[in-house]
């Protein structure tokens, strides 16, 4: 595994872990502050327990690479599953943004008042984390293809 990939993996893993913590913190805050929507370093945390677990899962898997041997299939498995899940979260958030936007457009069309803040949907840890994960996933898939999906040849 190339050092740049390892470095990017650890940075991405750390990013997910930090924002998982902030998501959890925002969830706690949402009990005391109604309609709480916090922004940390430009990214919105919705205070959602589900997102907290999802971000934590990706963060843990990617960050665990620190404790693995790099050319071992186990380390590579973490990179594959972690980056794949990161991209899945990105896709899901983009679907949610598209749906919310569509919903808003439809409600406006039938004469109801509706508004949607696109920035709040796009500037999230899921989107940024997903963008960071994409080159990692591309790298793992290319490596797998090169080894014809047989990791004992790594």
């Amino acid at each position: 595994m190339r050092p740049t990939i390892l470095l990017l993996t650890l940075i991405t893993g750390m990013f997910y872990l930090i924002y998982a913590t902030l998501e959890f913190y925002s969830w706690i805050l949402s009990f005391t502050i109604p309609d709480y929507g916090g922004s940390w370093w430009g990214l919105f945390c919705q205070g959602d327990l589900g997102w907290f677990i999802s971000l934590l899962a990706v963060g843990m898997i990617l960050f665990s690479l620190t404790f693995k041997r790099l050319n071992d299939y186990k380390g590579f498995s973490c990179l594959l599953v972690g980056s794949f899940l990161g991209v899945v979260l990105l896709v899901m958030q983009l679907l949610v943004v598209a749906a919310s936007f569509g919903d808003c457009a439809f409600l406006t069309l039938i004469g109801e008042e509706a508004e949607y803040n696109l920035a709040e949907g796009l500037l999230t840890p899921m989107v940024v984390g997903g963008i960071l994960s994409t080159p990692l996933l591309a790298y793992t898939l290319n490596t797998l293809k090169k080894h014809r999906f047989n990791l004992s040849r790594l």
Binding site: S54, C78, A99, S100
Partner: protein, 686 residues
């Protein structure tokens, strides 16, 4: 063929058998073109899928048997499959064998051959077997088994045409030639003797069942076969002879006879594998191995499982939202106004608009949510993740006196509690099966979803998905808790062992996912068109009439008048019961009708508040506080399962367990709702 020739159609019955997760459903869909109808297996309320395949003058009625590992009588599924083969006598059994796990799968094949049926083996997933480093010589295997063996890759359709040709060919053969397991000198002698006694003593019995199979099963002490023999005139004599023979053989062999016979079958399978399987290279690390390292990891596994479930809900609630709004507008504004614009008598207009459109519309609006969640679950199933989730949670479930096998019925319950309860039949251990069946209705099904969405939308705007998600978590938590309680009190015997095959990961097939989604969704649509429609009309009638007679549809505009209706009387009498929770008479009446189907809670509230689903937000926001709303959602989650689920519990576990479920769930729901309110008030939450 000349144009004047009339084809004489020939009909054959074909059963599709195989272990779970071998691609049985995909092959069934490939054979039948995905068009299947559903019936029940005789004697049990378990669904039977039947489809049709026409090749020239051959018409095959194809029956999808439950996924099974063997043909013993230990689990309900195995009994169903076995009874179908011995009682209904299919002309051919298509046995789907997973080439990537051939040893375990061939056990079912040789069990089928022992029953004396014509078998065609579909050797599926040959591509995966190759990926895993071995190749199967299907010609040699076919020779050794004495039946056609067709290599297939169900997901790409490879081999399906050859499989169809084999069906036609085998259907023309009079008797299938096959080779059977040889159990060794002494045992074979006894099998022949018992077999001869059956043929000579009760020719009717030997005409109906294969006499060698009966003899083998009698020596294995199969309770179901012993029951059949007992009804024969030679029953008692034969059973006492078998008992002596078994004792004699066990003395000679020095071990339990059943154990010996299973060993012989496996040693026969080993011989088959030795001859037919060529190892190409040392077993490589496959993509499945890599993904499994993380997915079934003791630390990563659980958060990954919760992530998968959360994404399913996110997909179902947030992504489906615009479609829900379109349907809501269609029913709540367009259709409602259209009905009112027709020149109809006042009561007819009100019945259609306030009863049918408001009632049924308030449920149909959730169709996108339900379709989306079913799509996601079907995707997870097809990829092969669901069995991993069961594996991951097995350790935790064992601490709660259940097995990992109990998770599949519980997860299926997310869609609908009915298949959840039915799926318990795959659990061999009787106590595990009963405990799982009793707690499966506590899992939050799609019918509860509309209630959560309406209430959470009114009281928890912004954190709707999280609140609804917490209901699902609560459902699982109480299912585990009650399972522990039942295990400690009612079913104290130790839990059975957990054997589960983890299938290789596969790319999902769009067609398969859509068929599964449709099969599950149509239940919801059927309920909307029947039960919910009928209840909506009933609620309307009870709302416009009362002890004083006909009150007119003005009741929907006038709250005081509505209170004088039958539904007002009913609601007020139940209101006292729910007074500690602070729920009003409308909510109490809605809960009463929710017993018929949980979705009805929403449609009843919509009718009683005289508004559509979206407009319910206003009245509910003034009726509930966040605390009482949360307690209400918990109550809806836990109180009586719907009528249809209770009927299934009765069918699967028996009448007394259905009554028990009814009582314990009401008491549990009441206690939990009261506790939420009590604790919440203590904490100053409302």
């Amino acid at each position: 063929m000349s144009s004047g020739t009339v084809l004489a159609l020939r009909r054959f019955k074909v059963a599709v058998a195989g272990n779970p997760n071998v691609g049985k459903s995909v092959i069934f869909n490939e054979l039948t073109g995905g068009r299947a109808w559903v019936g029940n297996w005789p004697g049990v309320t378990v669904e039977k899928k039947v489809g049709r395949l026409k090749i020239g003058e051959h018409i095959f009625e194809v029956v999808d048997l439950p996924g099974i590992y063997s043909l013993t009588a230990y689990s309900v599924d195995e009994l169903i499959a076995r009874n179908f083969i011995v009682e209904e006598k299919p002309d051919i059994v298509v046995d789907i064998v997973n080439a990537a796990n051939i040893e375990r799968n061939l056990y079912l094949t040789i069990s089928l051959l022992e029953m004396g049926v014509k078998v065609v083996v579909a050797l599926n997933m040959v591509d995966l077997a190759r990926e895993q480093g071995y190749e199967i010589d299907e010609k040699k295997l076919s020779e050794m088994l004495g039946v056609p063996v067709i290599p297939t890759i169900a997901t790409t359709g490879y081999g399906i045409e050859r499989l169809k040709e084999a069906l036609v060919k085998v259907s023309e053969e009079k008797e299938g030639y096959r080779k059977l397991v040889n159990y060794g000198g002494e045992v074979e002698k006894e099998i022949s003797k018992i077999s001869r006694r059956i043929v000579e003593g009760d020719p009717k019995l030997s005409d109906k069942y294969n006499s060698r199979w009966l003899a083998v099963k009698l020596l294995e002490k199969d309770a179901d076969v012993e029951g059949k023999i007992r009804l024969s005139p030679i029953g008692e004599t034969l059973l006492s002879y078998v008992s002596e023979a078994r004792e004699k053989l066990e003395k000679i062999l020095g071990k339990d006879l059943e154990e010996y016979m299973v060993e012989q079958r496996y040693s026969y399978i080993s011989k088959l594998i030795e001859e037919c399987v060529k190892i190409l290279e040392v077993k490589p690390v496959t993509l499945t191995d890599m993904v499994d390292y993380v997915v079934t990891h003791k630390i990563f596994g659980i958060p990954l499982m919760f992530t998968a479930l959360y994404l399913a809900f996110k997909f179902a609630f947030d992504v489906a939202a615009p479609l829900c709004d379109i349907i809501d507008w269609f029913f709540g504004s367009f259709l409602y106004s259209l009905v009112l614009s027709f020149p109809l008598a006042g009561w007819v207009s009100s019945l259609l608009a306030d009863g049918v459109v408001a009632g049924v519309g308030s449920i149909i609006v959730f169709l996108p949510n339900i379709v989306f969640i079913f799509i996601f679950i079907a995707l997870l199933e097809d990829i092969g993740y669901m069995s991993r989730a069961a594996f991951v949670i097995d350790k935790i479930m064992r601490r709660l006196f259940l097995t990992g096998k109990s998770l599949l019925p519980l997860i299926l319950g997310i869609g609908c509690n009915i298949p959840g309860v039915i799926a318990c039949r795959t659990i061999e251990d009787e106590n595990d099966r009963k405990v799982t069946g009793l707690v499966a209705p506590l899992i939050s099904c799609s019918a509860r979803l509309p209630v959560y969405l309406v209430v959470a939308g009114a009281l928890f705007a912004g954190s709707q998905a999280g609140i609804v998600w917490s209901m699902y978590i609560m459902g699982f938590a109480f299912a585990f808790l009650m399972a522990g309680v039942f295990r400690k009190t009612l079913f104290k015997a130790p839990s059975g062992s957990f054997i589960m095959e983890l299938p290789p990961y596969m790319a999902p097939l769009a067609r398969n996912v859509l068929i599964k989604t449709w099969e599950r969704t149509k239940r919801f649509l059927f309920k909307a068109g029947t039960v919910i429609f009928a209840v909506s009309v009933l609620v309307w009638i009870l709302s416009v009439t009362g002890p004083g007679g006909y009150l007119t549809p003005a009741t929907f505009e006038d709250a005081t008048l509505l209170e004088q209706s039958w539904i007002g009387v009913l609601g007020h009498s139940l209101e006292k019961l729910f007074a500690p929770m602070g729920w009003d008479w409308r909510i109490s009446a809605a809960l009463f009708f929710g017993f018929l189907a949980k979705e009805v809670v929403v449609s009843t509230m919509a009718i009683l508040y005289g508004v559509g689903e979206e407009a319910l937000v206003g009245p509910l926001a003034s009726t509930f506080t966040p605390l009482t709303a949360y307690a209400f959602m918990a109550f809806v989650l836990l109180y009586v399962p719907c009528l249809a689920t209770l009927a299934i519990v009765r069918g699967e576990l028996g009448g007394k367990y259905a009554v028990f479920t009814l009582i314990y769930e009401i008491l549990l729901a009441y206690f939990v709702a009261l506790t939420i309110i009590g604790v919440g008030r203590l904490l100053g939450l409302g």
